[in-house]
């Protein structure tokens, strides 16, 4: 197990380096620079000085080398915009984003998985049809639009929840953005669960269990659910990573102080260190979740070995 973990962690290094290189090269070639958004000074010398101060007058390979050297000691650099260390900026934003993503995923799992199970246990029934209509709708609805609808309904019409903001970080501020973000993975989980359960229900080992006289409840609980969990877990893992990206829209809409809104503003203003730092955190999170999922496979299904 330990060697598996070490190997997997080492495997992430080339992935991280590739992402860093890609983002660096991308922002070196796209038009537009931080200098034009920071100053409209009439003196061309100011622009040159600003480029020098920000290190933008060096060749790309020199900048990349310097960046990697700093990164190796955990220094993400200094933001061009705020002149704060990027690590400080990201640290302030990480917890709200994690709050949002975990809440959205909890919403998705709590509703999506039972919905898929119920639909699969009664295929073709009215329950199944309704569940799948909900699932397809959830996958089709744009998060921005859904967020607005939720705001309109629960804040403006019912007055139950605030329509925006972080407040004190409490639950009432979290519910609407988490629901807006969680509907899509909820729908996907419902569909995945239904498909997985339907497939497992017709498997040989399920038929054998039934023929041995095992009750339907025990069959579902011990054979179907456990086997379906591996597939569900894979979907959950992938969705965790995807949510980091999708949170951008929701955070901006709800004025949620997460990494997503930091990333948007940093990209628009070509704040390269902040963009690189934010993307790096997203990638590391994605890799960490995937590693965790791989470990959990073995816990759920002992037949999976860490070869």
């Amino acid at each position: 197990m330990l060697s598996f973990l070490i190997r997997r962690i080492l495997q992430t290094i080339p992935t991280v380096l590739a992402v860093v290189l890609l983002v660096f090269v991308l922002f070196s070639v796209v038009p537009g620079s931080i200098v034009s958004s920071m100053s409209d000074d009439s003196d061309p010398q100011v622009e040159l000085r600003m480029k020098k101060q920000l290190g933008l007058d060096d060749p790309v390979y020199v900048r990349f080398g310097a960046y990697i050297a700093k990164l190796a000691i955990g220094d993400f650099g200094t933001s061009f915009r705020t002149r704060e260390p990027v690590t400080t900026m990201i640290a302030k934003r990480t917890w709200p984003t994690l709050q949002l993503i975990f809440a959205a995923m909890a919403f998705a799992i709590v509703i999506g998985v039972p919905l898929g199970f119920i639909a699969a246990l009664q295929p073709g029934s009215i329950v199944d049809t309704i569940a799948m209509v909900v699932a397809v709708s959830g996958l089709s609805i744009a998060k921005f639009w859904l967020g607005l609808v939720l705001m309109y309904l629960f804040a403006l019409k019912l007055g139950w929840l605030p329509s925006f903001g972080y407040g004190d970080g409490g639950l009432k501020y979290l519910i609407l953005p988490a629901a807006a973000l969680g509907v899509s993975p909820m729908a996907l989980l419902a569909r995945t669960t239904r498909a997985a359960v339907l497939e497992i229900m017709t498997a040989d080992f399920v038929r054998t269990a039934r023929s041995k006289g095992m009750s339907e409840t025990r069959v579902v609980k011990w054979h179907v659910m456990r086997n379906a969990l591996v597939i569900i877990l894979t979907t959950v893992g992938l969705q965790f990573g995807a949510l980091m990206g999708q949170a951008v829209v929701v955070e901006k809409l709800f004025s949620w102080p997460g990494i997503g809104s930091l990333l948007v503003d940093s990209v628009l203003q070509r704040d390269i260190p902040a963009v690189q730092g934010s993307i790096l955190v997203v990638v590391l999170f994605f890799l960490a979740v995937n590693l965790l999922i791989d470990v959990l496979y073995g816990v759920i299904d002992p037949r999976i070995r860490y070869a």
Partner: protein
């Protein structure tokens, strides 16, 4: 159009009169919104020139001057008196002796000198340097040739002498937050960027990046009885639709409106009364590059102005959220010439001018634009068929806003559409077209006209205010005739303000920039 302006001005006066008639209430919370992005750039206001950041900075910081919306000009703020001598180049300021920083220390002339020297640190390229550079010796500090600005002299703790390089009104140079006065001892510390200290009516409490800034009343603020409110919350809300819900839900007190919302608020009996509007000092236009052969001919540039049905675009596409431009200087400019008329929509005249210029069949050009809903791609898309009718084909080149700024400054375009600050100082706005102004500065169309230069030079030397205004009006009229741009519109800034928030100022430089100490909320405000 002028009737509309008059109505707007009347509404503004009525609002102001109503506010005056009531006794301001002490206490409560003002909940403003910052609509121009997903976050604030920095808590070091010297480093950022975004309008978004000045919204909170107006509560936290103070500069030597402040914008007075009623008078439409900058007035002294941190000084009680300005004695001008030396042929208009030397200003001796008697500073306030009752201005305290939020750490309890009294402001002195040393803080102003320290702040201006900081802004001129050439290795940091602070955006406010372009204003401070007007002080003698400031440029030498910027270039590293001197350690201190020679044109700033402390006479005593509360008397400051400032020698300028040009005969200008320093108010226009030292009223924005870019030249805020910092406490010399505190601002040098690393912690300042996390917990800024200013001279403003509210002190810093909390910044939740990407969400809000919270400030609370500074009891030692120098204006007696002010500020009225206990607390100010500035929430970052970049999405117009989200602001709309929050405003209707009474969660925020102010909301900037776009064209679509402007129409819907006007149509809603409950919301119509919340609208506040002002002609801001921004001119929207299509700039034409004279090095692109057809645009070198004045008749072609005039033809473009005649070929576009500008009123139709303003009414239908911009939903009336703009004022028709009659030349460069905006409606709220102190020297705006009310007798000027815009170019008429006259395609026949446009065709005639094109034929006279040697383009009877028209020509093709590339038009660089951003996606901006008020002056970008939607406008370009509406204009293209109008130009096509007179034989001019436009090819769209779409870029991001940040890229457009670079394109405009580099001159790497045939035509572009843009929004440019054309005030509050009319002389500075027109000087952009002076042949001595470099293209990357603000002479984006690389305009050169000897007659125009002469008018601007004479205006710069004129001591008589009326004569100066007359010269600037002539220069503005000359621009209209030369048509270096398609004169599109002057921005109409529109904000919805909750009925319980009083004292809103019709700030033509930027409506969201409010002198927060003058705002107050009555007892009907849901925020306690």
């Amino acid at each position: 159009m002028f009737r509309i302006v008059a109505i707007v001005a009347g509404l503004g006066l009525a609002l102001a009169a109503t506010a005056e008639a009531q006794t301001p209430r002490k206490g409560g919370t003002i909940r403003m919104t910052a609509p121009y992005g997903s976050s604030f750039t920095s808590l070091d206001i010297h480093t950022t020139q975004r309008a978004q950041d000045e919204i909170y900075a107006k509560a936290l910081h103070r500069s030597l001057y402040i914008w007075n919306s009623t008078e439409g000009k900058p007035v002294l703020e941190l000084a009680k008196e300005d004695v001008v001598s030396g042929g208009g180049l030397v200003h001796t300021f008697k500073l306030r002796d009752d201005a305290y920083f939020h750490n309890g220390r009294k402001m002195t002339a040393d803080d102003i000198i320290w702040s201006y020297n900081r802004i001129m640190d050439g290795t940091k390229a602070y955006p406010g340097a372009r204003f401070v550079r007007v002080i003698e010796g400031a440029a030498a500090v910027e270039k590293g040739q001197a350690k201190e600005i020679s044109g700033l002299k402390k006479i005593d703790d509360f008397t400051l002498e400032m020698r300028l390089t040009e005969k200008v009104d320093p108010g226009f140079y030292f009223f924005t937050a870019l030249t805020s006065i910092y406490p010399a001892d505190e601002a040098a510390k690393e912690s300042f960027i996390q917990k800024p200290i200013g001279l403003g009516p509210f002190k810093f409490v909390e910044h939740v990046p990407g969400s809000r800034i919270v400030l609370e009343r500074w009891d030692r603020f120098y204006k007696p009885g002010k500020p009225y409110a206990d607390k100010v919350i500035v929430s970052v809300m970049a999405e117009a639709a989200a602001r709309d819900v929050a405003f209707r839900n009474k969660e925020i007190d102010t909301s900037v409106l776009g064209p679509a919302q402007y129409v819907s608020y006007q149509a809603d009996a409950d919301l119509k009364g919340t609208i506040v509007e002002v002609a801001e000092v921004f001119t929207r236009y299509m700039g034409m590059n004279p090095s692109f052969k057809p645009f070198a001919d004045k008749r072609v540039r005039q033809a473009i102005n005649y070929a576009i049905d500008t009123d139709l675009i303003i009414n239908k596409l911009v939903k009336g959220k703009a004022y028709r431009a009659t030349s460069w200087l905006p409606l709220t400019s102190p020297v705006y010439d009310k007798t000027m008329k815009p170019y008429a929509y006259d395609p026949a005249k446009a065709k005639q001018l094109l034929a006279e210029a040697g383009y009877p069949s028209g020509f093709e050009f590339e038009w660089t634009t951003s996606q901006n809903e008020s002056w970008g791609l939607p406008i370009v898309s509406a204009v293209i068929p109008m130009l096509d009718k007179v034989g001019i084909k436009a090819k769209v080149k779409q870029v991001e806003t940040a890229v457009l700024a670079e394109v405009v400054r580099s001159g790497d375009y045939q035509a572009f559409i843009y929004s440019q600050a054309t005030g509050p100082d009319p002389q500075a706005a027109l000087k952009c077209f002076h042949s001595s102004t470099p293209q990357p500065a603000c002479n984006y169309m690389n305009f050169k006209n000897a007659e125009f230069d002469k008018l601007i030079d004479e205006a710069g030397q004129a001591d008589d205010v009326a004569k100066r205004a007359q010269l600037l009006q002539k220069a503005n009229a000359l621009l209209y005739e030369e048509a270096p741009v398609w004169f599109f519109n002057y921005n109409k800034a529109v904000m919805a303000v909750q009925p319980w928030l009083k004292g809103i100022q019709l700030n033509a430089t930027e409506l969201t920039h409010q002198n927060v100490e003058d705002l107050w909320v009555d007892e009907t405000s849901p925020a306690k």
